[in-house]
């Protein structure tokens, strides 16, 4: 026990525990962010997609997910099952991942990322996905897409890590992986019934704004905690995270103001999230000036990107591709441009590999689910809404 006291830095440990809680809160925040944007009859179904990820992803992570992602390396592509059931993941630090905090704290912090990443994808198939299928999707996606990408980028001897790809807090691992998966999912699941004929505006943007606030708040832990210590890097990460978010909220608002004549609240909120997603890979490596550029550009290109779906005709319902996929692609490139230790070549390789792998693997998973459980609720179910047809509840009653 005295050994432990010597190895563990108390400030670092406190910070990682607090950061874990901050990141955990992002998922119910995401639930509100998404829940406000769908039609009223689907608010609970949409919230449940995020909420239940806190359960399912935890199960996967504890049983074998953490071991696949961070366990001892097999061929630079995946971890082995030595740490399945958290065997050997104890209170003594793991020097590779976090030399000053208990290994379990690192595992817990990473678990929160495994929860929110698949929850992000659900925006692409909101208002029509079958819940039973979704549970299985969570398990398969975490196993075959998330765990490998984590291992490549952050795992000991992962091949992208070895190549020098820099991803501070999950630009590749969280946002590009979920953005690419969202594109595959939107294409496989298809459009919502009556998508092109009936207007489907958000039912309660107040929820969305509350969710945005929780996401922004939690992101301090997401990026700040990724320094894995209560140190200067953590401070830098939080400062640039906040700057990027603020500038992106404003730049989205201005672009939309010019283009559509109104500074919308949803636009400002979406811009803020785009700024957060964009700075994520760069947060530990760039300073405030770079963060201003990252944020300004993020608000603009993500605004353009969410309009892709209208041009190309896919129904990425809540714009996961345009906000997270495109935002973080910009963030990865910006890391290459502004971080001294980064190689632009390596950054591009990371981006391309992650987009292609997450896209193709998600297509395959969706195809398998389509042939077995089916992806969508019935037409009648879509008419009455997911809340009643899938969950037997309503979000609002009189």
């Amino acid at each position: 026990m005295n050994d432990l006291v010597d190895q563990i830095n108390q400030a670092d440990t406190v910070w990682i525990l607090i950061s874990s809680a901050l990141v955990l809160l992002m998922t119910p925040g995401l639930a509100l962010f998404y829940g406000g944007m769908v039609r009223r009859k689907n608010v609970l179904g949409t919230i449940m997609h995020s909420f239940i990820a806190m359960g399912v992803a935890t199960v996967v992570w504890v049983l074998y997910g953490y071991s696949l992602a961070f366990g001892p390396d097999i061929g630079h592509v995946i971890g082995n099952l030595t740490w399945a059931g958290l065997a050997g993941v104890g209170l003594e630090p793991n020097p590779t991942y976090s030399a000053t905090v208990p290994h379990q704290a690192f595992m817990l912090f990473q678990m929160m990322f495994a929860i929110i990443t698949p929850a992000l994808i659900t925006g692409a198939f909101a208002e029509r996905f079958k819940f039973k299928t979704y549970i299985l999707f969570l398990v398969l996606w975490l196993t075959f897409v998330y765990a490998p990408i984590v291992h490549w980028v952050w795992g000991e001897n992962g091949w992208l890590r070895n190549m020098g790809v820099l991803d501070f807090a999950g630009g590749l691992v969280v946002h590009i992986s979920s953005g690419a998966a969202a594109l595959a999912a939107a294409l496989m699941v298809g459009k919502r019934k009556d998508y092109s004929t009936v207007p489907m505006p958000p039912h309660n943007l107040v929820l969305t704004i509350l969710g945005t606030g929780l996401l922004w708040f939690g992101w301090f832990g997401f990026n700040g905690g990724s320094s894995l210590a209560a140190n200067a890097t953590a401070v830098n990460a939080i400062v640039v995270t906040h700057i990027s978010s603020a500038f992106a909220a404003i730049s989205w608002m201005i672009v939309e103001w010019i283009h559509r004549k109104k500074p919308t609240v949803l636009g400002a909120a979406t811009g803020a999230v785009a700024g957060l997603a964009s700075i994520t890979p760069a947060a530990g490596f760039v300073g405030p000036t770079a963060a201003i550029i990252v944020g300004l550009v993020a608000g603009m290109i993500c605004y353009v990107a969410v309009n892709f779906k209208t041009i190309f005709g896919y129904d990425d319902t809540l714009d996961v591709v345009g906000v997270h996929g495109v935002g973080s692609t910009w963030g990865m490139i910006a890391t290459g441009l502004f971080a001294v230790e980064a190689s632009l070549d390596a950054q591009f390789t990371g981006v391309i590999v992650t987009w292609i792998f997450a896209f193709v693997a998600t297509l395959v998973i969706m195809k398998v689910l389509d042939l077995t459980l089916g992806l969508r609720v019935s037409e009648e179910g879509e008419n009455i809404g997911l809340d009643l047809c899938e969950h037997g509840e309503r979000g609002y009653t009189i």
Binding site: P199, P201, P202, T264, Y303
Partner: protein, 112 residues
């Protein structure tokens, strides 16, 4: 007895209600409704995409009065709910065959 149904702009409600109160008409039922008509809906923008929303928020007032009050109520509602712009709404008059006050069971005019 007649039912007067007036579809009006929501911000005009209080003004109309006060004016009706002054002529001693205080039995009013209101509902939040949406309407379409010559005012061709509104444009809403979400994440850069424009939606045409055909229905606009309105208030429906329902007032049941004796026949001799109908013209008076119509003129009060019209006077107060008017802005002169499209979308001021409409008034519909229809027949009511019986009215019963639930508390006492009174019927007809005394129940109004």
């Amino acid at each position: 007895m007649k039912k007067i149904e007036a579809i009006i702009k929501p911000f005009k409600l209080e003004e109309v209600r006060k004016a009706l109160d002054e002529i001693d008409v205080n039995g009013i039922t209101i509902t939040e409704v949406k309407g379409s008509g010559r005012q061709k809906g509104i444009k809403e923008v979400y994440r850069g995409a424009e939606y045409h929303i055909p229905f606009i928020q309105k208030i429906k007032m329902e007032i049941v009065v004796n026949d001799d009050m109908v013209d008076k109520v119509i003129s009060v509602v019209q006077d107060k709910a008017q802005t002169g712009n499209i979308g001021d709404g409409k008034i519909f008059v229809s027949n009511i065959e019986e009215v019963i006050r639930i508390r006492t069971g009174e019927r007809g005019l005394t129940a109004i």
